[in-house]
Symmetry: D2
């Protein structure tokens, strides 16, 4: 059930509706829009009577929602969500006119390696730094990340390079630690339906980057985001990173058609990861261009100062100069769509 308030409804009326909902044992989610406020109701398993709400002051309409997702839907909030990330000098916004580019190595291996990558990507125009401290690996015998030491290196990167930090959290308990250091909590593709982790991320004050699962339908992807929003954290950035198909010329099949599909159904921003989406260095730049052309709100790119020495995913990491070239190309394509990147500003000034 979704309650749409009248444009002239007062804040007090909005609070009154929320109070009524919570008195009934449900959760109210007030979502202020440019024109009017909508209030989502969650926690109800069966049907509610629209009439019970439509008699309240300030209410324009009570709508039964047939789609299984509610809070992520454009029916609840028609304008694009703007997700503010970072603090101080490194604040950036996802979902607006400016595309946000996240770049950095697959895993944090050492302070030296992180700083080399961070310097390169900052210079080329990235404003967010990625790097895993806790790595979910297919094999128990592969490098699992530096853990807390990796997080501390990331904190140094933020201070030194004014880059907001995006790093992965792998379970609810681990989330306590990661959210102390990260500006954005990343939830990986294999954890897209780790519902315990989604709920925990939903109680965090940090924005969440949620990657699509390898065989997730669009509805399952949006429902995973719904888990986070339903716990109260509305700052979710979606990420397409390729799905699993029979095709064997790339590691995954990047499904760029999901970008306009998400834009139609949801107000959340969505970015693309062409590094995992293709798994091959030489395909990253062409697919990054395509992602921007199709309308994505940003990119997340693996960059390593010395890819051949990387402990994980080196074969899909760009060299710094390749990343700089990528930034120039996507900035030019963004301009065709009336959008910008940090490079646009650097060039203008």
């Amino acid at each position: 059930m979704l309650i749409v308030m009248k444009p002239q409804a007062t804040e007090e009326q909005v609070r009154g509706v929320c109070a009524k909902i919570e008195a009934m044992g449900y959760r109210a989610h007030a979502m202020p829009g440019a024109q009017r406020t909508a209030i989502g109701i969650t926690g109800n398993q069966g049907a509610l009577e629209a009439a019970e709400f439509e008699i309240l002051p300030g209410v324009a309409e009570a709508i039964r929602v047939s789609k299984p997702y509610k809070l992520v839907s454009r029916e609840v909030k028609s304008e694009d969500s703007l997700i503010r990330v970072g603090t101080g000098e490194s604040v950036v916004t996802f979902g607006g006119r400016e595309l946000q580019i996240i770049a950095g190595p697959c895993a944090i291996e050492s302070r030296e390696q992180a700083f080399a990558a961070a310097g390169a990507v900052r210079k080329a125009g990235a404003r967010l730094f990625r790097g895993g401290a806790f790595k979910p690996r297919t094999s128990p015998y592969s490098f699992q990340g530096l853990g807390k030491e990796g997080l501390e290196i990331l904190a140094e990167v933020r201070r030194e390079f004014k880059l907001a930090i995006v790093t992965e959290t792998i379970d609810p308990e681990n989330c306590d630690l990661v959210e102390e250091y990260a500006d954005v909590l990343q939830i990986g593709a294999r954890n897209m339906q780790n519902f315990s982790l989604l709920k925990r991320a939903g109680r965090s004050s940090k924005p969440v980057l949620l990657k699509r699962g390898l065989s997730a339908t669009l509805e399952e992807f949006l429902m995973a985001a719904e888990y986070i929003l339903s716990e109260g954290n509305y700052n979710v950035i979606l990420c397409e990173r390729g799905v699993r198909t029979f095709a064997d010329h790339t590691r995954n099949t990047l499904d760029l058609s999901v970008i306009p599909a998400v834009k139609r159904l949801s107000h959340l921003p969505i970015i693309v990861d062409p590094s995992h989406g293709t798994g091959k260095r030489e395909k990253v730049t062409p697919l990054a261009r395509a992602a921007v052309a199709v309308g994505a709100d940003g990119l997340i790119i693996e960059v390593h100062a010395e890819p051949d020495r990387a402990l994980s995913d080196g074969y899909q990491s760009l060299y710094p100069d390749q990343f700089a070239a990528l930034m120039d190309q996507v900035t030019a394509i963004a301009a065709v769509l009336g959008r910008t990147t940090a490079v646009s500003a650097m060039t203008r000034s």
Copy 2:
């Protein structure tokens, strides 16, 4: 690296090799076989020198293992693993001549509902009872299970009906609670690559039923089991439950060819879940027959006394009389392969 001991090697020699491995900072996994003992080494990220081990007393050979899995492999242990489940009167063994049939409702809804299902499946020949107390659901608004109350009902079912209990654990913290009640910890398809949960289950004293992920390759499936074994819990039962494909006449596509493929590569038992594998009641019995015919070590079947009233998955749950008919059919097919079920014994006596 895998150390193969000589047939006549003493226990002391085995302990000596293990001590050497652990002194090097790795983990040793001694796996006694009918003819000889093999010792798996895990924790080594790079290559080890075979020569360093081959000089030790009692060692026949040190083999570099090229497959990414080690402990689950028939190269480490050529005989089928026998996994004992349950205690007292309800002990059963997976992986032997007798097939094990797990049956019960998708979710525990009430004591009355659980008892009705348990009585029916016990009578028809099941020796293990399934039922979820914690349910991973695609939607945050769907029934999430009774939680601890559900586990207590399961404990009553065990006492009352002499059925071993199989129930799902959804995250590492939750595992502490579930392992107090369950005879087998189930890890669901969506958590097959939840590595934190796999590691926690690997430190449990209870056997683990590990379901194949919706888009998991055979190698990824075995590597997920490897995570559990590498922590020291060798009691893993694999489960095929359908993979995601373009085909839309069933909810998932049950991949029965994975059974002989697993049998070839691994010593672990594997069972089949035709309920989730097809998602349609009328297809459960034909596919259960096929699963036994292909060589599975057992089945897990959703049965509900009143499927039309089930809070989840009712459309794929069998009626008690359908389950009894299934048991008779699979028992007859098992006999063709020289195998038995609990019904074989009931019929003979």
Copy 3:
């Protein structure tokens, strides 16, 4: 539109309805059943008025058909179709209580090779012989079959071994030649939607074995059969041979759940090809057992007297003794379902 005649309708009344349909410019397909005759109408692109037919003598009902397939549907013909194949001593029937096993090499390579395989499979209980004279190959540089010479060898096999001949036709023109020699025209998976070939096969007097395409949905599979029936040839045997998925432990993923799904919707018989369905010799027998257990009406199996010398698909061909063992196993499983094979009769006598 489907016209259901009254149980007591006369043949003259049936002819009257057909005449009316054809006068309107459509095609009438009278399908006599045990209780009553149904008449399918094809060729109408838009809607017809039920009333126009319900006023005719002998008509019980005129039903709008919502599914896109008509003639293949159980709504048109509720009883299983029995498809008679072969002539003289080698007549067999598909779709009845007896399972039919087709066996032989992938391609006809020489008279000697064909005779060696034919002798072996006849002795083991096959009553139909497979072998390609025209081979659709992924590479233009691979062996494309012996052509007409291969067909002549097949004719000799029929005479010598009393085996009905199943062989592939690859295009409409080629069909003129193949139908002179074959008892059953095989249409391969890659040609399942070669509509020109389907139409040509629909005008043949020979039964057709139609293989499911590598990525065909159930509806597309039935629609391909519908093409053949709509041209007047009602003798179609369907064949599941695996679909393409991400799974890489077999060449294709055999989708056995399609058997009960077809049985529910269509009156046509369906068999299984575990040789192409798995692409690996050691998996053929387990999957053959599973196919019979799930309810298939027969099997098609690649057998070669010397698989290691085969010009194509040798790695998935069984040795003669493996095929004989397979026949014994599937005969025992068939008995559990109340069905037989030619081996059942051999054993009894």
Copy 4:
């Protein structure tokens, strides 16, 4: 086997090598390049001795080719192939700096409908017109095209609007008729492995537009093209049109990563069909932009003057003004990659 001639080799020496190859019973395919000529050998099933060729005058090297495709490979011809299409005023070239945009309705329904679409797409900058006269349809009861009448309408469109004609051929016999009218023979996705049709198209003097099959791997796609080249027709344009996956938010999943993968392996041009690739009108333009951004050599787009009245695929056809907007957007993106469309020229002048 591939013979690489020395840069200074004479035409006579090239002819000498070809004569030798053909005397051995194989086919020689001389492919002149900018620097040197390469000669492909086809028809050999087994291995040839390199030494036999390396002794001939003018030969630099004889290379064993491990990939199953030869003639389509960059190893045979390192420069991009330029495929000239059309005659007189409507000549265009695929594979060069200018992108080629093919547009028009799914099926030719009438002269009036074809002219309306042709006028619109010509004005917006298309230089090639698509429209089916023979339509492969999933259902035998769907509109199958106007046949020869449709071809005659297409011939009128060419004369009237100076548009080169791209239309589908559905079987070898039908190819005789279609090649009289078409400038480009289209082979549809369902016929990608209709080898009889591929061979027939390989003997045509007209260029071929070959669409990727719904579940074709990259290697199978290139091998299908190889069939055409191996018969002597080197003028093949590849086309990505989406593959079949579990994803259900679009009709197919457009696999744009195949574009850089083809470019790496083959000298043939490749275009993209976002209309069939998505099956939804609102996704055609975003994916068309992405296709150009990823590096495709052109597009094929369904445009209908009145989509809501179309006899087939109306829901994925663009309105004329949507197509004009698409042309402007893709022209701007092409410019970023240093490429042009016909609109670039119109704008400049």
